[in-house]
């Protein structure tokens, strides 16, 4: 079955613009804020946000980092093989800052839990907010909700949402895949692993 396009290039651009303005509305010039993208896919959104925010605010410096949560995941040894880590790059102290954690899709909430855990190694932030592009509602396994969301999607467990970026995938779009292509459902069964 052909995947359904939830957001095309133009709509995705507008959504990112809106998220940037929401951040500015709440945090002013963002000087006390650190934007932290979750590896591996959240950083693609975080990099885009950083670029847009710099352009809108006309500033050169914006605290920005990338966080890998591999060693903090709660599904180690629940999967057939261990996840391979990506790089963490946070070269400043988070002590006392407002952190905006960025990920592309919020589904079960388990990645965000691991992200909160991993953040603790870098200091005690004043507060942590969560920004996601897609919020798959009604499928949470933990009490975690976003503070900023680009779009809400009501989807069932067997469906999958993918976010593609110009930089890595050729074009900007968000797709909803429905069962039919079930070759790797072993990987995403019940949303327990790949869908986190």
């Amino acid at each position: 079955m052909e995947p359904l396009t939830l957001l095309g290039p133009k709509a995705l651009g507008l959504t990112i613009q809106r998220l940037c303005h929401q951040l500015i509305e709440d945090h002013g010039d963002l000087q006390g804020v650190a934007l932290i993208g979750l590896q591996p896919r959240g950083v693609l959104l975080a990099r885009r946000l950083r670029r847009e925010l710099k352009a809108i605010l006309g500033v050169e410096r914006l605290a920005y980092g990338e966080l890998d949560i591999t060693f903090h995941r709660d599904d180690f040894r629940h999967r057939s093989s261990p996840p391979t880590p990506s790089a963490t790059a946070i070269d400043f102290d988070l002590e006392g800052r407002t952190v905006v954690l960025v990920d592309d899709v919020l589904y079960t909430g388990r990645s965000i839990r691991a992200g909160l855990d991993a953040l603790l190694a870098f200091g005690r932030p004043a507060s942590v907010h969560l920004l996601v592009l897609i919020d798959r509602r009604f499928s949470r396994e933990l009490p975690i909700q976003p503070d900023y969301a680009g779009k809400w999607v009501d989807s069932i467990g067997e469906q999958r949402v993918t976010v593609e970026w110009r930089e890595s995938d050729g074009q900007d779009r968000v797709l909803l895949h429905t069962a039919g292509d079930r070759r790797d459902t072993g990987m995403v069964a019940k949303g327990s692993t790949a869908d986190q």
């Binding site: 896919r41 890998d68 040894r77 629940h78 057939s80 261990p82 391979t84 190694a121 986190q196």
Partner: protein
């Protein structure tokens, strides 16, 4: 290959081809690359203000050292603790081994206390393989006699990769007591699997017969070896394994140091920037003089630092293959 991940953060995943780390010989080049990639992640963790991750919090690891060790034992213990595993330590002195208990009995008694992994150093070659066939825990060989010391081989190659930017095509000379060295054998296997060229250099009495069959160059003259190589690994003279009065294989330590020791004058004569390595503990003034050991091109302390990240990677990847209870 997997498809690109869906619904955000699912990193690519692979696993080791082995259940125990008994030697480098059993690993594939892909296994070694996977260990290195994972170690890169742990190296970053070790640079954080809080150097601990929760991955192994439900596992218990026993460190069984039937032979003395400082560096390796501390390095493994730190690696285990930074992965949040529970750790029990055992060393043969002052234990029931001295009362005549067999290796299997000792280990089974420890396993009866619900231990998941065993890190073992033992004076007999093959002890780790033997254990892996008779007990249920995952075994990590931390040195078995003169056979292998796989984590040392891995961390040496990892340190070379870090300093030279590559291992493939690099020329590595291993100098000294090859005959008694488990470090040499693990290094040869590891470097060759990664595509490096290896030359062994040392007195003929400390060179195992037929070692050239492993595909290594053998050279008796240290200056020739130094001019050939990009990095030199100066092995320790294993005084405790020389047999008899301790010096059955060469006339005196002074003569060994003159012919096979690396001092600053000899280092400067090479005429190029050769990376200097040593697995420790150094006999200062024998294999290396202090000026060379503490030289800017010496990566001896990087080796020690990388040792923790490599051991974390090995334990993490082996632990991933332990099935969970009730699954």
């Amino acid at each position: 290959m997997r498809q690109r991940s869906f619904d955000s953060a699912t990193p690519p995943s692979e696993q080791l081809s082995v259940e125990h780390l008994l030697g480098i010989k059993e690993l594939t080049p892909e296994d070694i690359e996977l260990i290195f990639r994972t170690a890169d992640g742990f190296k970053e963790v070790l640079g954080r203000p809080i150097k601990k991750v929760p991955s192994l919090r439900d596992l218990t690891i026993a460190n069984l050292f039937f032979e003395s060790s400082t560096r390796t034992r501390v390095s493994f213990e730190l690696a285990e603790k930074r992965l949040s595993a529970d750790v029990v330590n055992f060393s043969s002195s002052g234990s029931s081994v001295s009362k005549g208990e067999t290796l299997i009995d000792t280990v089974n008694n420890i396993l009866a206390m619900k231990v998941d992994m065993v890190v073992m150093r033992h004076p007999d070659p093959g002890a780790a393989l033997f254990l892996s066939r008779h007990v249920r825990a995952r075994i990590v060989n931390a040195g078995d006699g003169t056979h292998e010391h796989p984590t040392q081989g891995l961390l040496d190659a990892y340190s070379i990769r870090e300093r030279l930017g590559r291992v493939k095509g690099a020329r590595i000379a291993i100098v000294g007591d090859i005959l008694h060295s488990r470090v040499a054998l693990s290094n040869i296997f590891c470097l060759q699997k990664l595509g490096a060229e290896v030359m062994l250099c040392g007195p003929r009495t400390l060179m195992p017969k037929g070692i050239a069959a492993l595909g290594v160059k053998v050279e008796a003259d240290l200056d020739t070896a130094l001019r050939w190589c990009d990095a030199v690994n100066m092995l320790r003279i294993q005084l405790e394994r020389q047999g008899g009065d301790g010096l059955a294989n060469f006339p005196s330590l002074r003569e060994y140091a003159m012919l096979y020791g690396l001092d600053l004058a000899r280092y400067k004569r090479i005429g190029k920037e050769v990376v200097v390595m040593h697995p420790g503990p150094i006999n200062r003034g024998v294999e290396l003089t202090s000026e060379v050991a503490d030289h800017a091109n010496s990566i001896i302390l990087d080796q020690v630092e990388n040792g923790v990240a490599i051991r974390m990677a090995v334990l993490y990847l082996l632990a991933a293959r332990i099935p969970r209870a009730g699954v």
